[in-house]
Each structure stands twice: as structure tokens, then as C-alpha cells.
């Protein structure tokens, strides 16, 4: 997957902005996150018989302008779950390895952490998150994370942006260099949250065009 | 739009001249001044969460209580938590001392309503300034007015009415929440100085305990709550303590653990019944049959305490079979007409002493029947009351009684065994019996059980009826005269009171007699009282609802209207103002008649049009306030300093301290009523009115009313605290602890029952370290009872009682009030409010159903296709109302339950249960001209009833329900 270099990503902040039409999108195959990896017996027991993470494919595209990177995700969803009141919001996340060779499914490890951006439909809340293994996610470094989602015609369109440069502990993204990216999607209507989600099979190579 | 405007466009030319801090609402918390505060640099601030960093501390905690008539469960000392002039929370103080090691202490007290009263103070229902009606009465159109305008206008109407028509046209409708403290003393002083009429609403609320009055000549008898721990059998009969004695209920659950048999007798498997060792289901309104069959088993099994009944009761006295009257000494040998006769086994006659119960060795023959030659030579057959009673009781076998009250004979016998074998038998008194038409007969039959067994005046043993304990300095403050002066004042008016005391009458008889002067005597130094039930019936038109009472009440000899008129004509019952003198001004003080009076829609039809002014003094918008001309905002209980009466159950005077300023322009009652006097005096002077004669001929000085009211300025409108203290200093039973100490602690134990007519009937010594036991002056010290025979009296030879065959206790089937309909609508005080005060509280309603409901049995619901929550129409010949259903297997088939105190505005069309309760007066309660059947304070007055109301219910169709 490639993150195209553009002069200024401000034209790409809106998930349905026209310029995105010209950007090639990557077809990412998704699968339910492995039940066995869930952090405790309760979650495993309560989802054993319940289908989840049924999203099969996600379309991902990215641009960057040397300063900030924007990643646009599009996926099918019959109707949006804003997560108002007692409901759970639809959500999505993009993850980058920080160092070493973290296993995406394991959400990294102590010496190979991952750094993700998580967007939630509830108020377009977007957070930077570090993880060193399942159930260890905690607030990540400040990368001026921002996100905006729009649902229409049976699809979510979500754009997440962050600085390329990153303070200590974040995943470094450098124009002209390659890294890897992982994806996750939560279906709010199905009460999916935390580790119960659809995830990309594995990392996908991401090259930031010079 | 904002782009066009700039800041400057809001600023008036030259406004900057007024630059500088102008802050009427704030002061600097710690800095010396606002300017100094502004000059210091601001604190650190990044987000609103910073304001939550600092520890929340209280400015102060103050001892407070709730000055409302929780009655049997009153009162509780609270710590009130204040911050920034606002009450944020309250919690029980729980500092009551244990009386004796074997008895539980009283802590913590409190209930779910008291523990959230602070929330009520700031809710939208709270009144904040005087308002005046602008639209039609009840239209809800109001205008805010100043206190000056309101009080001047009311003062002018007052002066017009008293000068043109008479002082008895001004009526004080006093509700159950009068506190016999400073606030109510101001009202009573005003009424006494102006001879306006005070309505005694106790009986009209159905709390008159008529049966106890007919039997003891007094209704005031209640024991200390800890005393129940000494009982081995407690009958919870006509009361629901789990709902209405929340702070005291633990004594019953703890007594049960301690081995006491707790028996609950009620139609439904009530919240109290689940705590019982035995529940006795009974048909509503038929408890007399159950009591009489127990009495039958007592007599038949020869368990009667012959010595006790011979000494303490009228059972040994002889009754003439020709006239049905008592045989008197005058009949026998021309002696005293008011002395009655006994005969001993040897046939010797003895005159029953009037000053003592001590038989001095005489052993009367309880079963005597003989012929006697009278002073005038005629021969007459005479029998003892006991023989007549035994004959009557013989008919109440368990089988016969079971037909009347629906309780199985086997259960009756088991209950009778428990009662007969009890070492110490007590009852938990409530106020439901007298809300049944024949409640007096029920109570007389219940008392019979205790008396026959001699279960009176001992630890854990005795009958309880009406609980009331008040300071006895109140009357002194109200009349401005101390007790000795008042007694002397009595003789100036030719009263033979002092003579009675000289003749050795007991103080109880003396002070009760003195209290009756409030109803009739022109010279009384106390306010003029009148029965509110009579007032609503005659002046309010409620009697119209009783037109076809003869259809409902088998054996009614004459229409209720005629019975009232003849009783008034024979001066059996005093009514002020007289029937032909229409009321003009109604002050509703701690009262809400349009909600509470049975058949209250009649008042709006008949009484309201007669009124020039109807004024409500309250802190919330009640149903009655919605129909008023003026609503004057009263301060809430944490916004004033005062104290309130209690009952012997919890014999502690409770004090509330002013924790915060009254909200908005509300004022405490003492201020409001004293200012009313001030405005009347001012307007009288401005209009050249000096003084007039009252309707009783006393001079009423209008242009000096304020000076008289405040005892020449000693107790001005700002002196509620000082007046409250003075009342206690005048009291013989509450002056042993200083007013300062009582305010600090929040409560103080009474030193004795005291001389107030509102307590003296308890007739016992209140000890510091023992729970109170009533009536020991009679049972132990042999003082006579304040009755015709000077004994506990079961035989009433008054013509009305003879006419209606109620001269002896008996069973009468409950009348079909409101028409021949299948279901009896019973009710009771709710768990969720005291009267109406918490009925619209958000917290209470969220823990209830948010709107009124009628509890109906699963059986009755199934028969009518009604399921839980359905809307129903309830109707009878008198009216109808709409309410939702609550279906329960705990409810008795044939009886529904409407828990009390919903306001009319809670019901669709503003029609509630009061609209189907006609409540005609009971003719026997109109009896007068009799040594003890006469008007007294809170007793001896006709009651009103709603528990016999017959209704039918039908499910509303979904369409009808949707249109509500």
C-alpha cells in the first residue's frame, strides 16, 4: 500500500472529498480478532457463540504532505451506530509498529510496541494509543491526531490524520520510507468494543512516497 | 448577524462612567473586599475540573427537623449541612440516649422523606413571593405582588368584613400541621384578639377516636414507644406502622425477635402483616364483630378481671329497665342526680363515689338484676351494665362473628387464646378505625377486650388511641396570661371552674372543662374554636352530598341535614359562624381542604362563591392554593427557628434552627401573621376605625391590634425565636432545659405530661428513665375518669344512643356509602408522603409509579378484564374519577386501596377519590348536652369517613385511555 505525496493534505480531511477519488485504494481483507487472544475468560466465554468482526473487506487509501499523513478507510455498514446513550459506537483504528517486529494480533509486546490512532463515531473522538500487548493500551504520544467520519449509502467513510514526526514512544513515519500498517473496525450495533473487532489479517506494507 | 454588532453597540454613551465593581449578589469569601479580591491575581485555571480539585467543606451544620404532622412517627433530629447559604443535605443526628439497658434506643430515626427534604426546598413547586389571582379562581392566572400590597388588600377586606358583618365571618382553616409552637401561637393570638374562628380539623380528618372518647371521655392516651418491648402480645389493629411509623417500626421487629407475638389485623396482607407472627384477615369496616367475639370468649371462659372492672368501669352500675337511664341517687332517695348506684351481693345499695374510684371495700354484684322502689314510691326493674353487656356478648359466638367479619372461627379462637393468655397486651394505634362510619362502635368493642382483661396502666399493657404531647406554656403566650391569672380571669366571667377545683376535681377534669370554653364562652382568653367537619357540611354544602344517605345507611332515623339542624337547635353542638351567618374570609394555614375534605368539589360550588377573600399560607403550590385569591409564601422548615408538639411515643420536644435565609421573599408564619396584624392596625388607623364588638360581645380593638399582638412590641414580627423560647419558659413540662440548650441539641425530653388540654388526658407520670405508661392516675391513683359516671363507661344513656341502639358496644354492618356497588374503597396513609408535602417530589415519585394508582385484588381484576397498569373508571352514585390499576395478590378481593394524599391535579380532569366519598356525618356524633359527650379540643366532634365508600371499577378502552 502506498501513501501518495501531495502538496497539502488539507483538501483530504473530508472523508468524501473529491480528491480521494484519484487516490488508489488498497483492498484489505479483514477477519474477526482471534477469540483465544482475548484478555480474559469472561470475554472469551461471552463471545464464544456470538459472531463478531464479520467485516470481510476494508478499503484503505492514504496521502501525506511531508508534515501530516491522512488515511481514509471505507467499509460497508448497513446503518451507522453513533453510540449515543447506552449504545456502542462504530469505530475504526490504524496501527503502526513502533520498533522491533510486533505481532499485530498480539497488539505488540513490551519490546515491540505498536502505536495506533482510534476513531469513534461518538463525537468523531480520535485518540492516539500505545499498546504493548493485548489489554495494555494506554494513551499514546501527542501526534495531533484528528478524525472525521461520515456514513452514507451503506458505507462509512472515515479519515484519520496525524503528524509524521512523533515524540518519544510513537511510530515514526518518514516521507520516502516504508513502514507497516494494520487496521481494525468495530461494529457498534453488535456491541463490539475493546478486543472484539475485525482486524486486518496481518500488517500491510506501507510506503510513504518521497 | 453578530458580525454587524460590535461590543460597542451594546454600551450606552457615557456608561463607562459607571465602571467599577457593583455586585449586590456576591461578597469576597476571604479577601477584605471585592476590590481587594479583584486586585489579587486570579487563581490557576485550565478547565472546569480545576474547580473540583478543592476539598468541599461545609460552612456549618445546624440542628433541624421537619415541622409537619408525621404524628405517630414524629419527630427526628437532623444535622442540616449548609454551604453558601444553601442547604445541600441532611442526615439524622442519632443522639438519643438509651432509657434502660433492656430497651432498644431510639436511634437513628428519620425516613426517606425527611432525608431528602433539602431537595424539596429548591424544587419548582416552591413558592418564592406573594402572588395574587388575576384570572378566575382556579384559572391559574397569577400576578406577583409585594408583601405590602398583599397585606394591605387583605387587611382592608378584613376590616370591611368585621365592621360590616361580624368577626365570626373570618375563618382560620387550621390543618394537621399546626405546630403548637411560636408560629401557631401567633395565629392563635391573632384569632383570640380578633375573635375570628379557628376550625378544629382533627375529627374532620377522621382522627377523632370517637369510640375512645365515648368510653374514656378522653382520646389522649399513648405509651412510650420503648414500652412495647414490655408487651408479650402486640395487636397492630387499625394501623400500618411499616408505612406510617418508619422511625419507630424497629421496636416492633425487635420486640418480635425478643419473643413478643406481633399480630396484624387488616383486610390486605399489608407491609406490616409481613412482619407479624400472625396475620388475621378481616373484612373492611367489620372489626367490631371480631372484637366482640373475643370479648365473648373472655366472658364465657370466665377470664374477666372482676376486681378491675368493678373498680374502674361502669359495669357494676345499675340501669333502669323502664327508661334505659342510669339509676341515680336522686331516683333512690332524692340525693344527687349525678351519682349512680351499685348493689352488693347482700343486696345493699352503694353510691358510686365521684371523686375517687376506690371502692373502699365495697364488692358490687356485677350480675345483679332486681326491682327497686324509687324515692317517689314507684317500682322499677334495674340491672347492672355488666348483665346487659353479657347478654349482648352471648350472641357474638366465633361462628356468628365469622359471618360478619369474614375471619374463620378457628383463627378467631387462636387469636382469642393469644389475647386471653397475654401477660401484657398492647395495641398499635393508628387513625384508620374512625374513617369508617361505625368506627366508634369498633373502637368501643376493641377497648372492651383490654378492660375486661384488666390490661391497663402497666408496663407493656394498655390500650392506645390518640397520641399528642404538647408544651403547656402555649396557652399562656396566646392569652398573654399565665395559668393562675387565667384561672382568676375565669372566675370574673362567672365560671364555676375554680369552684370545681376547690371541690377536689382532678386537674384533668378541670383543664378539659376549661378547654371546652373555647367553643362557647365569650370571655375565653383563648381562640374561639369550632368543628371543621360541621363547618364544611353546613357552610360548605357537603351535607348536600348526603341527600340519599338513608339509602346507604340502614336505620338512619332522619336525613343528615335534619339531624344537624336539630342538634344545633338543641345546642348540642356549637357551630361558629352560625348557619345563617355566611363566612367571608378563609385563611388556610397548614391546611389543604380541597385535597383532604371528602366531597371537596362541593366546597368550590357552595362555599367559595360566598367568600370575599381566600388566602393560603404554604411553602408549595397545593390544590387549595390553586383556587385561592392570595398565596403567601411560607418559609421552609430549615429557614426558621421553632419547635413542635410530639406524642408520648417519642416524648422529646424537637427544635428546628434557621439554617439559611428564607428563599426569595418567603417569610416564616410568625412574621406573616404578625405583619397581617400590623397592616390591619395601620389601615384601621388610616380609615378611622377604632374598635368593634365581636359576635360574642367582646371588644375588639382594631387600631391597636399590632401592639396587643406583640404585647407592646415585646414579640415583634422578627421575634419568632424569642417567642418560641418564651413559650417553653412558660411551660411546666419543658422549662427544665434552657431554650439555648434545646436549640443546640435539637431535642429535649419532656419533664412531665403537663397541663395543656392537648396532653393532660394521658393522665400519667412521665419519668426520665422509663417509657411513658398512660392512664396510671386512674388505674393506680384511683383518680376518676372525665366521664359521666367518672368511670370507663360502656353504657351511654344519651337519648340519641338509645334511639340508635348504640347505648352498648355492638356490631353494625358497614353502610354502602355512595350506593350499592360491589367494591369497598379503603385507603390509608401512604409510605411516600406526609399529607401532600412529598406527593410531587421527584425522588419519591421515581420510587413509586409517578402517578396515582388504585390497588385491586388479582381476583377482582380478572373478573373485569383489568391488568396491571390499565386505566380504570371508578364510580358510584356520587361521582367518578379515573386512575390506573395496580393488581396485587396481597389485596383482599372485594376491597380496593387508594393510598392517601394525592392532589387533585394528579388525576385526569382533576377528579380524585374525594369525588366519590360523600361522607355524611354520623348522627350519634352530634349528641350533646351531656356530662362528657361534648365539644373538646381535638375531641368530641363529628368525624368524616371515606373507608366505607362503595364503588365499581371498569377498564377504560385503549381509545379512552389515549384521550386522557
Amino acid at each position: 500500500m502506498q501513501s501518495l505525496k501531495v502538496t497539502d493534505i488539507s483538501g483530504f480531511l473530508d472523508p468524501v472529498a473529491r480528491p480521494w477519488n484519484g487516490i488508489a485504494a488498497e483492498r484489505v481483507d479483514m477477519m474477526p480478532s482471534p477469540l483465544g487472544l482475548q484478555p480474559n475468560d469472561y470475554i472469551i466465554a461471552s463471545w464464544e457463540e456470538r459472531p463478531y468482526g464479520e467485516l470481510e473487506v476494508l478499503s484503505a487509501a492514504s496521502v501525506h504532505d511531508g508534515q501530516r499523513i491522512a488515511v481514509r478507510l471505507v467499509w460497508e455498514k448497513d446503518k451507522p451506530s453513533a453510540g449515543a446513550g447506552e449504545g456502542f459506537p462504530d469505530a475504526a483504528a490504524i496501527a503502526f509498529p513502533v520498533r522491533g517486529d510486533p505481532l499485530l494480533m498480539q497488539m505488540g509486546s513490551a519490546d515491540a510496541p505498536i502505536h495506533a490512532l482510534q476513531w469513534r463515531a461518538r463525537g468523531n473522538e480520535t485518540r492516539s494509543v500505545n499498546a504493548e500487548g493485548i489489554g495494555s493500551s494506554k494513551p499514546g504520544p501527542d501526534v495531533a491526531a484528528a478524525g472525521k467520519g461520515g456514513w452514507s449509502g451503506g458505507n462509512w467513510h472515515v479519515v484519520m490524520t496525524r503528524n509524521l514526526a512523533v515524540p518519544q514512544g510513537g511510530a515514526v513515519l518518514v516521507s520516502g520510507h516504508a513502514t507497516r500498517i494494520g487496521f481494525a473496525v468495530w461494529n457498534g450495533h453488535n456491541e463490539e468494543r475493546a478486543g472484539i473487532k475485525a482486524v486486518s489479517l496481518d500488517w500491510i506494507d506501507l510506503e510513504l512516497e518521497a | 448577524m453578530t458580525a454587524a454588532l460590535s461590543r460597542r453597540s451594546f454600551l450606552k454613551a457615557g456608561a463607562l462612567g459607571a465602571a467599577g465593581l457593583a455586585m449586590p449578589d456576591f461578597v469576597a469569601r476571604t479577601a477584605s473586599s471585592l476590590e481587594a479580591l479583584a486586585a489579587t491575581p486570579p487563581p490557576e485555571f485550565t478547565s472546569f475540573l480545576d474547580v473540583y480539585r478543592k476539598q468541599w467543606t461545609w460552612d456549618k451544620t445546624v440542628r433541624g427537623t421537619h415541622m409537619i404532622n408525621c404524628w405517630y412517627q414524629a419527630h427526628c433530629a437532623f444535622d442540616v449541612y449548609v454551604r453558601d447559604g444553601l442547604v445541600f443535605r441532611e442526615e439524622q443526628a442519632a443522639e438519643y440516649q438509651q432509657l434502660r439497658p433492656e430497651l432498644p434506643d431510639m436511634n437513628p430515626r428519620g425516613c426517606q422523606k425527611g432525608c431528602c427534604f433539602s431537595h424539596r426546598m429548591y424544587e419548582p413547586t416552591r413558592l418564592k413571593y406573594p402572588i395574587r389571582r388575576v384570572g378566575e379562581r382556579g384559572s391559574g392566572q397569577w400576578e406577583r405582588v409585594t408583601w405590602e400590597e398583599a397585606l394591605d388588600d387583605i387587611a382592608d377586606s378584613f376590616l370591611d368584613v368585621v365592621t360590616e358583618e361580624g368577626t365570626d365571618r373570618v375563618i382560620w382553616d387550621l390543618g394537621p400541621d399546626i405546630n403548637i409552637g411560636a408560629a401557631n401561637a401567633a395565629q392563635a393570638r391573632f384569632a383570640q384578639l380578633t375573635h375570628s374562628i379557628c376550625l378544629d380539623s382533627n375529627s374532620s380528618n377522621g382522627d377523632g377516636h370517637r369510640g375512645a372518647f365515648e368510653t374514656f371521655g378522653n382520646i389522649y392516651m399513648e405509651r412510650g414507644i420503648e414500652d412495647y418491648f414490655y408487651s408479650d402480645v402486640i395487636l397492630v389493629w387499625g394501623a400500618n406502622p411499616v408505612y406510617t411509623s418508619i422511625p419507630n417500626a424497629h421496636f416492633f421487629t425487635e420486640a418480635r425477635y425478643n419473643g413478643t407475638d406481633v399480630v396484624v389485623i387488616s383486610p390486605d396482607y399489608s407491609a406490616s402483616a409481613i412482619k407479624a407472627d400472625l396475620w388475621v384477615p378481616v373484612k373492611p369496616g367489620t372489626d367490631a364483630a371480631l372484637a366482640l367475639t373475643i370479648a365473648h370468649l373472655i366472658v364465657e371462659g370466665d377470664h374477666v378481671d372482676k376486681a378491675f372492672v368493678s373498680e374502674q368501669t361502669d359495669l357494676p352500675l345499675l340501669v333502669r329497665q323502664d327508661t334505659g337511664a342510669f339509676l341515680t341517687e336522686a331516683d333512690l332517695d332524692g340525693g344527687d342526680e349525678e351519682s349512680f348506684v351499685m348493689v352488693d351481693a347482700a343486696g345493699g345499695f352503694h353510691i358510686a363515689e365521684r371523686k375517687t374510684l376506690d371502692l373502699d371495700g365495697v364488692e358490687p354484684d356485677l350480675d345483679a338484676t332486681l326491682d327497686v322502689t324509687l324515692d317517689d314510691g314507684t317500682q322499677v326493674a334495674v340491672r347492672t351494665v355488666y348483665s346487659l353487656l353479657k347478654e349482648r356478648l352471648a350472641t357474638y359466638t366465633p361462628e356468628a362473628a365469622s359471618e360478619m367479619c369474614g375471619t374463620a372461627p378457628g383463627l378467631i379462637r387462636r387469636l382469642a387464646d393469644m389475647v386471653i393468655n397475654a401477660r401484657a397486651l398492647s395495641n398499635v394505634a393508628g387513625s384508620s378505625m374512625n374513617k369508617y362510619f361505625h368506627g366508634n362502635l369498633t373502637e368501643r368493642a376493641m377497648i372492651l377486650i383490654w378492660v375486661l382483661l384488666g390490661q391497663m396502666g402497666k408496663p407493656g399493657s394498655g390500650y392506645s388511641a390518640f397520641g399528642f404531647l404538647a408544651n403547656d406554656g402555649w396557652e399562656d403566650y396566646v392569652s398573654g396570661l399565665r395559668i393562675p391569672e387565667r384561672m382568676a380571669f375565669g372566675t370574673e366571667l362567672g365560671l364555676d371552674l375554680l369552684w370545681d377545683l376547690a371541690k377536689g376535681e382532678s386537674s384533668e377534669i378541670f383543664f378539659k372543662k376549661m378547654a371546652t370554653t373555647n367553643f362557647t364562652d365569650p370571655g375565653s382568653t383563648l381562640p374561639v374554636w369550632s368543628s371543621s367537619a360541621l363547618f364544611w357540611h353546613v357552610h360548605g354544602g357537603i351535607v348536600d352530598l348526603a341527600e340519599d344517605a338513608k339509602k346507604w345507611i340502614p336505620g338512619l332515623k332522619q336525613p343528615v341535614r335534619e339531624a344537624i339542624n336539630s342538634a344545633l337547635h338543641k345546642n348540642w353542638i356549637p357551630l361558629q359562624p352560625a348557619p345563617d351567618r355566611e363566612p367571608r374570609i378563609l385563611f388556610h394555614y397548614c391546611a389543604n381542604p380541597i385535597r383532604s375534605v371528602r366531597g371537596s368539589q362541593k366546597l368550590l360550588e357552595v362555599l367559595w362563591p360566598k367568600l370575599v377573600k381566600t388566602v393560603v399560607i404554604d411553602f408549595r403550590m397545593t390544590t387549595t392554593a390553586q383556587h385561592a385569591d392570595y398565596v403567601l409564601p411560607a418559609a421552609a422548615w430549615y429557614e426558621t427557628t421553632d419547635h413542635k408538639w410530639v406524642t408520648p411515643l417519642v416524648p422529646y420536644n424537637h427544635v428546628t434552627n434557621k439554617a439559611v435565609e428564607p428563599l426569595g421573599e418567603s417569610q416564616n408564619d410568625f412574621w406573616i401573621i404578625t405583619m397581617l396584624a400590623k397592616h390591619i392596625q395601620k389601615r384601621a388607623q388610616e380609615r378611622g376605625i377604632t374598635s368593634i364588638d365581636s359576635h360574642l360581645g367582646k371588644e375588639i380593638v382594631l387600631d391597636n391590634l399590632y401592639e396587643d399582638m406583640t404585647m407592646d412590641g415585646a414579640y415583634s414580627e422578627h421575634d419568632v425565636d424569642k417567642a418560641a423560647g418564651a413559650i417553653l419558659e412558660y411551660s411546666s413540662n419543658l422549662s427544665h432545659v434552657s431554650w439555648e440548650e434545646q436549640k443546640e441539641k435539637g431535642f429535649a425530653r419532656y419533664s412531665q405530661i403537663g397541663l395543656s388540654p392537648l396532653s393532660i388526658g394521658n393522665a400519667g407520670e412521665l419519668k426520665e428513665d422509663e417509657p411513658f405508661i398512660p392512664l396510671t392516675y386512674h388505674t393506680k391513683d384511683k383518680q376518676p375518669y372525665p366521664t359521666q359516671t367518672r368511670r370507663i363507661q360502656f353504657y351511654l344513656d344519651h337519648p340519641v344512643y338509645l334511639e340508635y341502639d348504640e347505648y352498648l358496644p355492638r356490631f353494625k354492618a358497614p353502610p354502602q356509602m355512595g350506593g350499592d356497588y360491589p367494591l369497598t374503597m379503603t385507603g390509608g396513609h401512604t409510605r411516600w408522603s406526609v399529607h401532600g408535602v412529598w406527593q410531587d417530589s421527584r425522588h419519591m415519585q421515581r420510587l413509586n409509579r409517578g402517578q396515582p394508582y388504585m390497588v385491586i385484588s388479582a381476583e377482582d381484576a380478572a373478573e373485569r378484564g383489568i391488568s396491571d397498569g390499565d386505566w380504570m373508571r371508578c364510580f358510584n352514585d356520587v361521582g367518578e374519577f379515573t386512575v390506573r390499576s395496580k393488581v396485587s395478590p396481597a389485596a383482599r378481593p372485594g376491597a380496593t386501596i387508594m393510598w392517601h394524599a394525592w392532589e387533585n391535579y394528579h388525576f385526569p380532569g382533576r377528579k380524585g377519590p374525594r369525588d366519590v366519598s360523600p361522607s355524611p356525618l354520623n348522627p350519634v356524633e352530634l349528641a350533646g348536652d351531656h356530662p362528657h359527650l361534648k365539644f373538646g379540643m381535638l375531641e368530641g366532634q363529628p368525624g368524616t369517613f371515606d373507608r366505607d365508600t362503595r364503588i365499581e371499577i371498569e377498564r377504560l378502552s385503549d381509545e379512552e385511555a389515549a384521550r386522557l
Partner: protein, 348 residues
């Protein structure tokens, strides 16, 4: 730090269902934003739906050590916090307006089936059962939280939610078999009873215990041998856990309810239990039979005038003895954090 466990015994023979505990807790803790519909203390009529409605069928807890799936209760099942049309009715000048919950006639509320119970007249039966968080020894909520945001304090065993770590996933709310965890939709966090920690730390009994007019609740440490809790749970064995089969080892224990005799067809009293023993066993397990026998026997002993340590403990003539070491008055504790605002439970 010692692993001590604070515990509570609730005597169902003394509970009169007055809800003062519910109001004491509500006015103290759950009137913040997003908490309007929360009742951390509830008192329900049993048998009945309970609060939240039908909670015993909502799953959670453990069976043979294995976590059991649960479902999320809805706010309407806890009872919606009705608002009322005060203005319109009281002052609004519309003489026909009726004061009632806004938004139509409700068909459920927090205490909807109060005093209804089960069975048929005259043999119907009910009692009241107050419930709070049981601060379990094996808390299902703690084990279900993927973020470790729930912790159990060593010094007293109180279970708290650290709101800074909580992301509102509510696995805890599903996993708690007693449904004692509440979701704040405004802050997006789960919240729960904290056993009045700020009061307990200062030696002041919990609001629900100290303000209970029925003197129903005993407080103390489980291991305090001369405290009432130890006597009732271990010595006399009359204080039983609710639904022990959920295997969370709750630390709130109940004295089972006695009831008056039931009636035969003619209406005469029989010796048959009014409250079916099978129903009580379904709540408190098999030990309830023996517990009831003990209560009846000790009560009969008192009736014969013989001493009974159990009855004296349950009567607790000296009110303050109910609370073991937590016997101070809130008024005397300076600067009590009675109205703790903002983030709670950040003690960890």
C-alpha cells in the same frame, strides 16, 4: 497490608422497605451529570422482577469456576428517571393539566411491583430485599475488564472502578451477576457503589447503614471475631450470601425472612410455610433451611424468657453496635468529602 474484608449483614426481618437507604445513597453519590437514573442502593419486593427488571436472568458470574456470559441491562429496566410537567400543571394556568411523568404513562419503574409479591390471597407472600454492590471476594467485574480498570483494595476489600482507565466497555456490567454496575452515558464511564469509602476511611458508617431507620444493616470486618458480622455469618450461620451459586463470594449477607402462618381453605392457620422454602433456597441456597430453624428456635427461647445471644445481636439494643468500628458521626469529621465531585476512585 492485611487482606481484610469489610462486610455487611442485612436483616430481612427488620427491613420495612421504606427506601431511606436508597435516598441516602442517591442524595450522597448519584446526583451528578449522567447519574440521574442510577440507584446504587435499591430495595425491591421479592418475589418480583427486582432492579434492574429481571436481573437474575441476565447472566454473568461463574459456574464451576467458568465465567458465564451476561447481557447489558437497559436504563428503562433500572427505571427511567421521569421528569414531571411541574410548570404546566402548577402555574401554567391550564386548569386541566395533570401532573405526571413527561413522555406518556410509564409501564415500569425502579419500584414498580412494590408490595405485590407472589401466591394467591390470603396466602400471598413478599418481603423486601435491599441490594448494593457485594464487593465480592472473587469479583466477576474485575476479571471481565480488559483494561484492568477495576481493583479491590487490600486494606478493606472494597472494589472500585478507576474512572481514568475506564473506557466504558461495560464488560463489567455484563459480567456482574447482581447487575450492580451502572453506565454513565454522559461521561462514557461505568460507575458503582464504593461502600462510602470516603466515610468508611474516617470511621463513619456507610450512608445506607447509618441512615436506615429500621436498624437493618450490620457493618464490620469478616475476620473480627467479636463483631456482629462474624457471629451472624460464621457462629450462628444465619447470615447467608444471595445467590451463592454465582460463585463470586459476595460480602453482603442476608438474614432470611420469617412470615406469619398461611391459611387452609376455611381460612384457619396451618403450619405450612407462607414463603415457599423452595423459593428461599433458590435465593440463599440450602443453608437457608437451617438458618430459619435457628431463628425460630432462638425466638422461641426468648419467648420462654431464656437468654439468646443471637436475638440480642439482631435486636442490637444499642444502635451504634451495629457498625462495629465505623461508629463516628459524619458531622464530627472535618472537611468530609461528602460531596466528592469530578473523578472518583482515582485512589489507585
Amino acid at each position: 497490608m492485611s487482606d481484610r474484608q469489610v462486610a455487611m449483614v442485612i436483616d430481612l426481618n427488620k427491613c420495612i422497605g421504606c427506601q431511606t437507604c436508597t435516598i441516602a445513597c442517591k442524595t450522597m453519590w448519584t446526583s451528578k451529570e449522567g447519574m440521574e437514573g442510577m440507584w446504587w442502593n435499591t430495595v425491591s419486593t421479592a418475589p418480583g422482577e427486582g432492579t434492574p427488571k429481571g436481573w437474575e436472568q441476565m447472566g454473568g458470574g461463574f459456574r464451576d469456576g467458568k465465567a458465564q456470559p451476561g447481557r447489558l441491562p437497559k436504563q428503562s429496566e433500572f427505571g427511567d428517571p421521569w421528569e414531571f410537567n411541574y410548570e404546566e400543571t402548577l402555574f401554567g394556568g391550564d386548569p386541566h393539566a395533570t401532573l405526571k411523568p413527561s413522555g406518556g404513562d410509564p409501564d415500569w419503574g425502579t419500584n414498580w411491583d412494590e408490595d405485590v409479591g407472589g401466591g394467591e390471597y390470603p396466602n400471598s407472600f413478599f418481603f423486601y430485599i435491599p441490594r448494593i454492590c457485594n464487593h465480592c471476594t472473587k469479583p466477576a467485574c474485575m476479571e471481565a475488564c480488559p483494561r484492568g480498570a477495576i481493583f479491590k483494595r487490600d486494606e478493606d476489600g472494597i472494589v472500585l472502578i478507576n474512572e481514568d482507565h475506564c473506557r466504558g466497555f461495560r464488560f463489567c456490567q455484563e459480567a456482574c451477576p447482581y447487575k450492580e454496575i451502572y453506565y454513565n452515558a454522559v461521561t462514557g464511564k461505568s460507575q458503582k457503589c464504593l461502600f462510602c469509602l470516603p466515610r468508611m476511611e474516617e470511621g463513619v458508617a456507610t450512608a445506607c447503614s447509618r441512615q436506615c431507620p429500621g436498624r437493618v444493616r450490620f457493618l464490620g470486618f469478616l475476620d473480627d471475631e467479636d463483631g456482629p458480622i462474624h457471629k451472624l455469618v460464621y457462629d450462628h450461620k444465619v447470615a447467608l450470601p444471595l445467590h451463592p451459586e454465582y460463585e463470586t463470594e459476595p460480602n453482603v449477607f442476608y438474614i432470611p425472612p420469617l412470615a406469619p402462618p398461611s391459611f387452609d381453605a376455611e381460612g384457619n392457620p396451618t403450619e405450612e410455610d407462607r414463603i415457599p422454602i423452595t423459593y428461599l433456597m433458590s435465593l440463599f441456597g440450602g443453608e437457608v433451611v437451617e438458618a430459619l430453624e435457628t431463628l425460630k428456635a432462638e425466638k422461641a427461647a426468648r419467648k420462654r424468657g431464656e437468654p439468646s445471644e443471637l436475638m440480642d445481636t439482631l435486636i442490637s439494643r444499642n444502635w451504634v453496635d451495629l457498625f462495629g468500628p465505623f461508629n463516628k458521626s459524619p458531622k464530627d469529621i472535618e472537611a468530609m468529602r461528602l460531596m466528592e465531585g469530578g473523578q472518583l476512585g482515582t485512589a489507585q
